[in-house]
């Protein structure tokens, strides 16, 4: 099917045309990237197989700079991987990838380099959101739209668009699931294995978890922090198991460190509790599917945020809008949902999951 082309020109005419846009968008929603492609790759459209009039149709070629922290765990590696993959599907996107670093000093240099080069847009997943705010403001002042992914800047003016996972929501989802499973048990022992404690996202997750548990009268009896790495997870979990002879439920924030957590549980020969993971790695999902470990569920934190950031950056640079919305400008903020994956619905999520 073909749809009336919505080639955008300048803002005033777009506002007039928005009535037409609504109709067109409704019609178009049937043929954009919501449908699975035959090649089994569902991460985004791409100009190669774009329908006429859809946002995936090639526009002006734009240069987009991308910078993220070091790929020191599977989720972070997947962020860059998915972004590069989606960029590769568009003939009109030239992606400049600054390699991952956990050194704010170097990451600032990377963004400064993008500004010097005069790229059309920047997608930035900061190691520390607050620390990158100043240089992001500098980019915005230079007229380069910044898409802030995952870790928020301390000043909303430093980004044109912010793409976020729902960290608080992750905690809520995990807490609610644990309430459903063990909530009717009086005095159930709940433990928590957090990620890097100095990150605001970790604090948000813990807050959500605590709030959701409070709904069914539970609280976190023992909380340890790891660092998203396998060895960190193993160490934190070993200590936790030593400290708590009997546990009913554990929430581990991150499936990458979860590999180590599961190893520690295995070594301690413990299986009296249920475990909920976080982030949603493919190996965690396979374990949930097999059902022979303590891991019964995981809470998704999409590793495709960078790719979504890239798609929005492309729309910004080409002066387009989000085609499934009535609004003629790209929104300020997109927050992704944090669903619970269990054995019942695992097949739905396994395809887009990342490998630890």
């Amino acid at each position: 099917m073909t749809v009336k082309s919505l080639k955008k020109r300048s803002t005033p005419t777009r506002i007039v045309g928005s009535g037409v846009a609504v109709v067109a968008v409704l019609a178009m929603s049937a043929c954009t990237s919501n449908e699975a492609e035959d090649d089994g790759d569902e991460r985004g459209g791409g100009s190669a197989q774009a329908e006429a009039g859809s946002n995936d149709e090639a526009g002006d070629t734009v240069v987009i700079g991308f910078s993220a922290p070091a790929a020191d765990h599977g989720w972070m590696a997947s962020i860059t991987e998915a972004t590069e993959q989606v960029a590769g599907q568009y003939d009109d996107v030239e992606l400049k990838v600054a390699t991952g670093t956990n050194d704010v000093n170097v990451q600032i240099q990377q963004v400064e380099t993008f500004i010097n080069e005069g790229v059309d847009a920047i997608v930035l997943l900061p190691f520390d959101g607050a620390a990158m705010t100043k240089v992001a403001l500098k980019a915005m002042d230079a007229g380069i739209p910044v898409v802030n992914v995952d870790r928020e800047f301390s000043d909303p003016n430093a980004a044109r668009v912010t793409v976020l996972g729902d960290n608080y929501g992750m905690g809520v989802s995990a807490g609610t699931y644990i309430c459903e499973q063990v909530g009717d048990k009086a005095g159930a022992v709940v433990a928590e294995i957090a990620g890097i404690d100095s990150l605001p996202l970790t604090q948000d997750r813990s807050r959500g978890f605590k709030d959701a548990l409070a709904e069914c009268g539970l609280d976190v009896d023992n909380r340890v922090a790891a660092d998203f790495t396998v060895e960190g997870g193993e160490e934190a979990a070993s200590n936790l198991l030593q400290a708590e002879p009997k546990i009913d439920a554990v929430w581990n924030h991150d499936d990458d460190q979860g590999v180590g957590v599961l190893a520690a549980i295995e070594n301690a020969n413990r299986d009296e509790f249920i475990m909920v993971g976080g982030a949603g790695s493919a190996n965690a999902m396979r374990a949930i599917k097999d059902g022979d470990s303590v891991l019964k569920a995981t809470v998704i934190y999409p590793s495709t945020q960078g790719a979504d950031g890239l798609k929005l950056a492309r729309l910004l640079a080409q002066d387009r809008a989000v085609s499934d919305l009535v609004e003629v400008e790209v929104p300020r903020q997109v927050q992704l949902y944090a669903p619970v994956v269990t054995a019942d619905n695992v097949d739905q999520y396994l395809d887009t999951a990342f490998e630890s």
């Binding site: 390699t99 010097n116 607050a130 620390a131 301390s154 100095s198």
Partner: protein, 369 residues
């Protein structure tokens, strides 16, 4: 072994430039591999080459050539994106923090020690002074309070390091390793593991602004480098540093208070950590316990390829500054070409080994002992 130590004044030097930089003046107790530039044995008829070699020109030359090669590679691969003033400023801004730490580290290593805790002290200083900012003390009084606190915290940590090393007789590696662990822990306690954001206008106005198009942090780095150079090569303090690092026993016999001097060296590098913390706070508008993680490795690498001996007794500020610029420029070239940072790490390792091998080869050729 005891030697007669005679006072040598800088009037013996024939050049106001980098005369014998990195080499202790004649007569001081010296390390075995050191070149002793003794003006009394040098006749005026000897060639320019010999003089250049005597002032350590060739050691520096290798670094300059390396830097030029990296710049040429950058210009060839990234073209006008690399070779412009904006990018030059980006490189210098990136070099400033590591540079200031490296100047301080040059003193400690020349004096026969090492400080692994620079990154942790930097983090603690940044957290301590931003705590003031977030608790409005700096706003109610004056932002200079932040500057004073950052420097005082750095000096204080340095003092503890120095006392542990010189009076506690703990090996520098171990004493500063303990400080590395403890200071970062204290920084986490102070900041409650949160990133603290600074909005003290006066502070950022001064520290994060640029004058004549060049950032304040770059001026500060230049100032620290120049002051460091003068202190090491033109003062009694510098001469004592060479002596203490080269042969502490001989230095003690020559009447130098080795213990006190060692403490001063660690205080000096601590103050540099405070300066670097202020620069990073201004650059990121934040103080956090994660600042400067693993930066000590970059700092030691820069000092070592610059030609300062890890064994002590020989140090060069010029070499250190070149070392910092080499690594920062290398990073920049990799960013420009979007190359993998893992490849960069491999290359960095190779550069360190190559630089040290070259220095050893030069030293063996010119060794007069």
């Amino acid at each position: 072994m005891t030697e007669h130590v005679q006072a040598s004044s800088s009037k013996d030097r024939e050049s106001p430039s980098a005369a014998g930089e990195g080499v202790p003046p004649a007569g001081t107790a010296s390390h075995q591999t050191m070149v002793v530039d003794d003006p009394t044995t040098r006749s005026r008829g000897q060639g320019v080459l010999q003089w250049l070699s005597a002032v350590g020109f060739f050691r520096i030359l290798g670094l300059v050539v390396a830097l030029v090669v990296i710049c040429v590679v950058g210009a060839l691969t990234a073209g006008s994106n690399f070779a412009n003033s904006d990018n030059a400023l980006t490189i210098l801004r990136g070099a400033a923090v590591v540079g200031v730490l490296s100047v301080g580290m040059t003193f400690v290593i020349t004096g026969g020690g090492i400080d692994l805790s620079v990154g942790a002290i930097l983090a603690l200083s940044s957290v301590w002074c931003t705590t003031l900012a977030t608790q409005t003390m700096a706003r109610d009084n004056h932002w200079l309070v932040m500057v004073f606190v950052a420097l005082a915290v750095g000096a204080g940590c340095g003092l503890v390091n120095g006392l542990l090393v010189s009076y506690g007789r703990i090996v520098p590696f171990v004493a500063t390793l303990a400080m590395l662990i403890a200071a970062r822990g204290l920084a986490e306690i102070l900041s409650d593991k949160k990133t603290q954001i600074v909005d003290v206008d006066g502070f950022t106005d001064v520290f994060a602004s640029d004058y004549l198009g060049i950032d304040f942090s770059i001026y500060l780095f230049a100032l620290v480098a120049v002051v460091g150079w003068v202190l090491l090569n033109r003062t009694t303090f510098g001469r004592r540093t060479f002596a203490v690092g080269g042969n502490p026993e001989a230095a003690r016999l020559a009447g130098i208070n080795v213990r006190r001097h060692t403490v001063l060296l660690y205080v000096l590098v601590g103050i540099c950590c405070g300066i670097a913390a202020l620069m990073l706070v201004a650059r990121t508008t934040t103080g956090t316990s994660t600042h400067g993680t693993l930066i000590e490795l970059d700092v030691i690498a820069a000092v070592v390829i610059g030609g300062t001996l890890l064994a002590g007794g020989r140090g060069t500020i010029t070499g250190t500054v070149l070392g910092v610029l080499i690594f920062t420029t290398l990073t920049n070239v990799f960013i420009q070409n979007q190359r993998d940072s893992s490849e960069q790490s491999v290359l960095k390792g190779a550069v360190i080994v190559a630089a040290v091998l070259l220095q050893q080869w030069l030293a063996s050729r010119k060794s007069t002992t």
